[in-house]
Symmetry: C2
DNA sequence: GCAGCGCCTGCAAACGTTTGCAGGAAGTGT
DNA sequence: ACACTTCCTGCAAACGTTTGCAGGCGCTGC
């Protein structure tokens, strides 16, 4: 609402004097903080690290500060953090799988779970299940174990449902559900026993951490991957490329997940009514832990023929 | 400066009405923000994740908000972030290995490097070198490769010096310096070639990520760990326990590193003159990637006797 | 009864913005 | 020359604290 020439002059003067607006004063009168918060259960986990990275990169570009709270997955702590953050930010992104978000007094975007009255960004669990199981079936596997994630996770619940649907439609193919097991290395490691005794030739883990645990446990048990057991993870962490052999996994679009949640939060701050839900698609990354099952009879050899078309990374 | 009874009454009233002081107003007049910033090059790296976790846990307990900036190790971005954060926080912790901290206008605590006029918390690089190399010598290794970290890192520079000193004092023991190599999985992986051709029976990596790369590269080259090559890492990340075989490493006191830097920053905010420097001690964690070297001659067999006393985790 | 002390109340200034409004100066069209 | 528009200046209120000071009330000790 000023003439262009004046604007230039003002800007030049600002530059010359080195004027920087005082954020506290601005906040006081405007009521906004120009900050957003990110709630995570464990920042040490690269999954959440990637999330924070994407969110803060975008936010800082827009002049938003990013406050972080690592709750250690402790419900009491989460509640406290939620309330504390609510007073310091304009809105927040909750990447915590089981937090009660009702305590928040600012707009919240939930990542990887859908709740009533909340914006959310999730990875398509159906697609994860189909990508992983489809890959295994294509390779010729007919006895597949699936390790379930923690029952309280929205994503685990959805994944289980997707797996069950897939199982119902896959003739001549037996799928055993194992667990639930914690979404950790140890969770995968201890789940190996059940996987082994299930007689499966391939196993789909709930995430990459679990898959790594399964890999290590299989190694310790003397079972070779992928020749004797195929392992497929999910998440697409950098870690997955560092295992031996490197892990076949269904990669979540981590970067996009972060950016989208940041963007949804932005929309929410402008217009609280538009609590959108978006679903992002995962991508199968075939590395070296997946292969056709060991050939035992002529019949199974028949199936192997189908695998020849499968691309290997 | 009020009577105890009055204080109680006031507190009760505060509770009843649900009064919460407005941070913006408080900041405006007090000039403090009750916030600290953490600068990291890559939050996806669990080393920095652990740092952030420890810092923010402590800080939030004291009512301090924690702002985070992930700079992607880009100098321009680091400069920008440093200036932006300076205006929003009372002080910051810089866990970035090569940032120019001069642009900061608030007190800064540097982690893992020492600078003039800056408080710092570092891990004793001398101890890391001695712990790792001493362990290998005790096991009987006489040809040891050490992969150097990036030349611009203070910690790498110190580590190199410590290694050289150790080498000078270790008779009958040859130590080859490899690199510098990036402090990453890929860095370790590509360094393997040089390690192999150096003829060493053991290698000390600059950090756990590098060590993991070495482990994988060795596996791909058909060289068994630890029977044919001993690998020792450094950092003590959770990742180190997830490798196959689990990694012997010199663990940094990550939690303590974070807490101490937080505390030093606190002291600095009270009294800017006391820019303390503290050095923390690492700890050798022996797992399964270290063993006595392969016996080739009677002479080397003689050395093996010394290893029997070495505790294995 | 009075000085002195401990505690409290009440008031006002200051922090650095945003926002809105009143007024004025210059330029445009008739 | 007059009304009108466009752009600008200047002033003042408001945001919710902190900080400091002046004054008052009641109690204690002499």
């Amino acid at each position: 609402m000023v003439a262009a020439a004046t604007r230039e002059a003002v800007l030049a003067a600002v530059e010359e004097v080195g004027f920087v607006p005082n954020r506290a004063a601005r906040r006081l009168v405007s009521g906004r903080s120009d900050a957003i918060g990110v709630l995570v259960p464990d920042i040490t986990n690269p999954y959440f690290g990637a999330m924070v990275q994407a969110i803060q990169g975008d936010a800082r570009r827009d002049g938003l500060a990013v406050l972080i709270a690592d709750t250690g997955a402790d419900p009491a702590e989460e509640r406290r953090a939620l309330q504390a953050l609510s007073r310091q930010v304009d809105g927040l992104v909750a990447v915590t799988p089981i937090t009660d978000l009702a305590a928040a007094t600012v707009p919240v975007v939930a990542v990887n779970r859908q709740l009533r009255n909340h914006a959310s960004v999730v990875v398509d669990q159906d697609a994860i299940a189909h990508l992983a199981l489809g890959h295994l079936v294509d390779l010729g596997h007919r006895r597949i174990a699936v390790v379930r994630g923690p029952a309280a996770y929205w994503s685990a619940m959805r994944r289980d449902r997707a797996v069950e649907r897939f199982a119902a439609g896959a003739e001549g193919c037996r799928i055993d559900l194992i667990g639930p097991a914690p979404a950790t290395f140890e969770g995968g490691r201890t789940a190996y026993g059940a996987v082994d005794s299930s007689g499966a030739s391939a196993v789909v883990a709930f995430n990459d951490l679990q898959a790594t645990g399964l890999l290590v446990a299989a190694g310790e048990a003397g079972r070779e991957v992928p020749s004797s057991l195929t392992v497929v993870g999910s998440d697409g962490l950098g870690l997955a490329a560092m295992t031996a052999p490197p892990l076949t996994t269904v990669a979540a679009p981590l970067e996009e997940l972060g950016r989208t949640s940041r963007q949804l939060l932005g929309e929410l701050l402008q217009d609280a009514s538009g609590a959108r839900r978006v679903t992002l698609s995962p991508r199968l990354v075939v590395r070296r832990t997946s292969a056709a099952p060991v050939v035992i009879t002529r019949k199974t050899r028949h199936h192997r023929g189908r695998t020849h078309h499968v691309p290997r990374s």
